[in-house]
Symmetry: C2
Subunit: 158 residues, 2 copies
Amino acid sequence: MYFMFKKRDNIKEVEEGKYLAPKFDENGLIPVITADFQDGSILMHGYMNEEALKKTIETKEAHYWSRSRKKLWRKGQVSGFVQRVKEIRIDDDQDSIWLLVDIGNGASCHVGYRSCFYRSIPLGKIKNDENIEMEFKEKNKKFDPKIIYKDENNPTKL
Amino acid sequence: MYFMFKKRDNIKEVEEGKYLAPKFDENGLIPVITADFQDGSILMHGYMNEEALKKTIETKEAHYWSRSRKKLWRKGQVSGFVQRVKEIRIDDDQDSIWLLVDIGNGASCHVGYRSCFYRSIPLGKIKNDENIEMEFKEKNKKFDPKIIYKDENNPTKL
């Protein structure tokens, strides 16, 4: 544990105070929303442990905790698609992070798209006997995962 | 459990397919990023269970699972600050949601600010013997929580 974070003494201080006092969950993680600083679009949703948050603040490059690989993960260490951090925000109860990053013309999603959120769910009444068909909002991949990742395992779990 | 969601049979289908097959975690929840559809700024980070996701899709009003109150939560039911859903996206492995909502000139944060992410964490080397001092990015609250919430308990937990 790092002693740089303020102890969460009282709710008023956590919500209205100026000191960073993040809450890590029972697995030692805090959820992270990563957005493109240029247009605000969401690139990915990840998690940090204390070390990843510290490294992200200090190096200005996004670091996460990979839950599938169970290790600290400097984003881009395999793909080259590093995320340069422009701003870090934290929410009212300090249990989630909003990261604004610069990825230039690169990509963020291991499937090959710029954003992980490339599919849109239709709104309105759900029919009981049919699967819900989504729309692809990104038409083309930015890279071929087979070329970039070679023999790396796919981090997606069923 | 609703049978409207496709079974998560294989990774290729989950990532590259067109059918909604969300993954709920061991608590039956999926994390949700809620953004202002007008400027993309993040308003809050929440969670949905299956029922909340279904209600959000069908009613086009954001519903969440309140972890602190342990119940389905139609956003705005107390405060009046309803979130009208403009678009719902899901990520590559279908374990997180990006909600684009219209809150007009309203607010989203129970502390009184428009966004829950009203504080910014400074970047760069962390001093070992000092707390990290954040900057307030929203200067004024949109409402007074004491007036809006009256005797409701504060959902923030230490």
